[in-house]
Symmetry: C5
Subunit: 305 residues, 5 copies
Amino acid sequence: MVVPPHHNWFRLLFVWKGSIIEKIYPRLIILFLFCCAVVYLRGEIFQVKIALNPTPFTLIGVAVAIFLGFRNSASYDRYWEGRKLWGSLVLESRSLMRQVTTLSGLAMDSVEIQHFSHLLIAFTYALKHQLRKTSPEADLRRLLSPELTDRLMQARFKPVLILREMGYWLQQQRQRGQLDSITLVTMDTTINHLSGVLAGCERIANTPIPYTYNVLLHRTVYLYGLFLPFGLVDTLGWTTPFIVVFIGYTFIAVDAIGNEIEEPFGTEPNDLPLNAMCQIIEASVRETIGEAVPTPVTVQPLIVD
Amino acid sequence: MVVPPHHNWFRLLFVWKGSIIEKIYPRLIILFLFCCAVVYLRGEIFQVKIALNPTPFTLIGVAVAIFLGFRNSASYDRYWEGRKLWGSLVLESRSLMRQVTTLSGLAMDSVEIQHFSHLLIAFTYALKHQLRKTSPEADLRRLLSPELTDRLMQARFKPVLILREMGYWLQQQRQRGQLDSITLVTMDTTINHLSGVLAGCERIANTPIPYTYNVLLHRTVYLYGLFLPFGLVDTLGWTTPFIVVFIGYTFIAVDAIGNEIEEPFGTEPNDLPLNAMCQIIEASVRETIGEAVPTPVTVQPLIVD
Amino acid sequence: MVVPPHHNWFRLLFVWKGSIIEKIYPRLIILFLFCCAVVYLRGEIFQVKIALNPTPFTLIGVAVAIFLGFRNSASYDRYWEGRKLWGSLVLESRSLMRQVTTLSGLAMDSVEIQHFSHLLIAFTYALKHQLRKTSPEADLRRLLSPELTDRLMQARFKPVLILREMGYWLQQQRQRGQLDSITLVTMDTTINHLSGVLAGCERIANTPIPYTYNVLLHRTVYLYGLFLPFGLVDTLGWTTPFIVVFIGYTFIAVDAIGNEIEEPFGTEPNDLPLNAMCQIIEASVRETIGEAVPTPVTVQPLIVD
Amino acid sequence: MVVPPHHNWFRLLFVWKGSIIEKIYPRLIILFLFCCAVVYLRGEIFQVKIALNPTPFTLIGVAVAIFLGFRNSASYDRYWEGRKLWGSLVLESRSLMRQVTTLSGLAMDSVEIQHFSHLLIAFTYALKHQLRKTSPEADLRRLLSPELTDRLMQARFKPVLILREMGYWLQQQRQRGQLDSITLVTMDTTINHLSGVLAGCERIANTPIPYTYNVLLHRTVYLYGLFLPFGLVDTLGWTTPFIVVFIGYTFIAVDAIGNEIEEPFGTEPNDLPLNAMCQIIEASVRETIGEAVPTPVTVQPLIVD
Amino acid sequence: MVVPPHHNWFRLLFVWKGSIIEKIYPRLIILFLFCCAVVYLRGEIFQVKIALNPTPFTLIGVAVAIFLGFRNSASYDRYWEGRKLWGSLVLESRSLMRQVTTLSGLAMDSVEIQHFSHLLIAFTYALKHQLRKTSPEADLRRLLSPELTDRLMQARFKPVLILREMGYWLQQQRQRGQLDSITLVTMDTTINHLSGVLAGCERIANTPIPYTYNVLLHRTVYLYGLFLPFGLVDTLGWTTPFIVVFIGYTFIAVDAIGNEIEEPFGTEPNDLPLNAMCQIIEASVRETIGEAVPTPVTVQPLIVD
């Protein structure tokens, strides 16, 4: 996630880092050079004049803008839903820790509470690693017993198994008389909510916006940019490349941003800072049970992963 | 579902598989040939010049784009809601398995747990078959006893009856003292959620977007394509067919994609991969109770059904 | 509801049944004749030339399209929410039947269960009749005792009273020891959900989209159609009537569809099939308790009411 | 709320009552006269020709339409959310009455039940009066004891205190053994939902759409109308005033409707019929406990407050 | 928050306070002067004529309007969600106070109730200070014991710790026999809802709309304003600066409003009145337990922070 630097309106015009232009400038340069060639040749290809005027671009432009707008909204909804799910993760892990420490009869510094809190932190990291397709081994080994880590590393659905471990923990506390049916069921419901976060994240990660949309919009945007100079060259002359690149910048950038935030759990600049959120949850859980909290990083980088 | 192949922006322009163009290219060829005829005849039909210019298309084009945008959003919402419902199915089946194994006093490898887990898997397949209007018999027979399968095959609402079987199972466990009222009611609530998934899927499958919308948009799009060459021929000449096909491609493709994802439970390329999701649920449930999990398919095909 | 006949793209262009054109064709014919008159008079009224060109229609057209799009979305949301509510009705009636048969200690074929299931079916029909402003007497008399029917027919809020009867039934079962507080409260919650369906349907039925919107949009659309031929006649000549009817068809049709689905509980072709859904609920409830299920109608009509 | 009179499409064009034109016609007359002056002066002010053509209005018109569309959606969402909240009020008051009569052991005609039902009706009226900033004294005095009315009239948050009174009532019934913890908590949850309706209504009433939006849109719409005749006068001549008033009517009306329904709890024609809804709740609650129900008004007025 | 002064339509045109024009007028003056220079130089820069006409602005204008519309909706959704969360805070704090006073056996004026209510008020202020990045020390010291205040001031997640304190309070009351499991769990759920408000506010405060959107839109808007005079100067002459500033005003204002309400918890004029809402909650909680309520401020200022 790019942390917005709060520039004023003037400086904002010249931002480079965190702007999508970093990514698409090669395409814009190609487009600019192509336009220059078109102007130089006065819109002729092999001595054949391509008869074109701006009218068709008016017809198609509105449609493209509306469909890009639609794709954009859909991408942003996915991004924001992903963020909501991780917000729920923060919420539910806090609730669960509060319930475990106040609804059960266990002492705050008991081994049981500590084990449970480590399971909870491990769940968070396991989810992050699953979404980013990286190995959770280091984080799991840091938090859990070697046996449990080994068992988890063999399983296909690691976060699911960690939730089941939490279920067993609750069952044990009930058998030991620390919980009655009502408090047990209350905590089980909170675990269900964690499970809901997991299922929601999997849904976003595994089901993209239908691929044909992307292909269609992508093509329409680039065909539009390809035809546009022929339509403008007769009236605008050498102003054409600047105007086409300006229009192309807007359309291509929106297409590219949509592509980037459509999959919000990756590690591109505008994706969600899953790493930072895992650390916040770890700090929050550890603070609850009085364990040492890692000091927050005071240097704020421009991009948080 | 088409698994996006992560091409770069350039290769994406030439994708064929999974693109809607696979489906609509015959219509685009017809449109192209029709435009050529119009240009050849200079916009005359039986020596009568069809007086037309681009203005009316500006008037109608925005409207068409907005209504197509509306239809598209509605279709996508249905698609995404369908996906959410199947995500809930994953979630609730995991929760139910966790509750059955940790809230009841039954051993993990007991016959009762096994029977319940098979009911749950059978529910998933029965739902898939109902939505795709295929016969669930093979899957039911694989999972359930012959008597139960026979009884189910005679029933009209198969998934409903499977849920009722789960309800009886809970009632029996309670009568045997394995569950108290509170844990019983908690699991009953989870079964209600499964029932909610079923009702939601039935709603999407049985109630299309009002038919008149589709008829209206379809007609407007094709009439637009029919009239357009007459409006452009006088100024664009032989560029007309290319421009009309470009504009027609955008509108017809959006119309066709909307049609395809409007019914997300079918087997067209952009529909939801119900089959794969059933297998994931089966694997997940079996892993919970320690049964053999079918190895995930490692070869990732382009299209998952 | 019109059951979509799955025509291919070509046949879809010539559909008549279930298309809104069935309803609006007289207005389109009037518009066509009016345009012909305008062309014949060369845009003059009593020898005064109406100076008009297409520009103002560009200005107003986008606005009209956007506001029509807004009204359309609002109408469709009402339609879809109505459908969701009836989907919930299916869901909650199934849940309630499952709870009544598995959470209570009553035998499936007992008189109590039968009475309760008939109350539930009667609620569904009473809701349908209230929404369509028809008399529920025949359906109530078919399902309930004469005394109860008489009492209900005198009441103003019939479905509310049926829900209260269900509440008494629960109270009686609890007093007879068939239910404890927890199972009682669980079923009471399900009855609340039925009550929520009722309140939601009443909301949609009693509160239209603010009337001024309809008046405004209706007027703008028709004024637009009235002025348009004067703006096009100078450049398009005898092509004008065809183009105006084409544009008029799109706008008038969207206005008319919006009007139709705005009140989704009526009996117009695109309204919701409340009748069919009542029958499905009745069949589903009766199947649960082993009563004879009316055979589903196999002939699928084009329009389901 | 304007009750739609179900005119056919033709009569709908000439509706006056309930149309926004009732409110804005003075502004449209001013705009018409201003346009006439512009045409008479041929677009000159003090002999200086205002050089303007329709192009800038194309540029700005789309933007204005889109932002008006946005404001409109936001206003309508507030209107519809307000309606949903009052729908919930109907629902929750019914549920509460059913719970009070069936979950407690109290007789239907007992003083306690009567007192509780009057508290519930009083809550509804207190909410209405708070939202409309009128005095609830008459209604409270009609329903509650003089002492309680006096105490309420001194409080700042009257509906909150009525809900607290309901809470005390529940506490008393529990102490008298009429309720156990579970039924108590169930009813407390329903009271929370009433509290949620209150908080939601306060939110809508106290937090308008950010004021700057309204100022901006209002200004843009009126500046647009002010400039427009200068842009059209050269080509349209004396048709200008009619066209400008037509375009102005659409924009000004949408702006005015948005303003009206943005605050849905007032007493303007298109606001919600809070009064009627209070009476429906009163009738519904009284019917439940067998008290005399005021006969529904049979004459249906055009506007319900 | 700007309290809307309810001017009539005419006075609304000349509002200065609370209008965004207060903030952006320097940019509009710069734009005006720039346009004047362009007109004076007849669109030439260093004797080179910039060939431009309005067509490209038609192409880009629609796109910009649609994307601005999208950003605007997203910003407004954040604003309104923030408001909803604070509305929930009002709701949940009332519910919690009602539950604490009616579900527990504690006397209204007991020390325990007073302590709990102060924790609740402190939570509200701590949340406000965290969102506005100000020090909560003064407010905490005013409400809580010195020891607790000191402990809180050292913690990183202050509101979380206050909620945990509430959890301990519940645990104590249960150990003292004032609460049973069911009432305990009911109040714990309400505390979860408070925790949900906290997590939701953190989400909005910490995760902006992806930064690239803002950069892109900002740039497109200002480039549009920069190019526009060159496109209009040939046809409009000295009318150009007025028209460009009018168009620029609309776009720049929408961009600036979107920026302002995107972060709704700040102290800019259109941000949410967190301060006032804290005071309302404090008054409401104190009224419930009969403590002195600070008299509401009768002078209504234009802007509430």
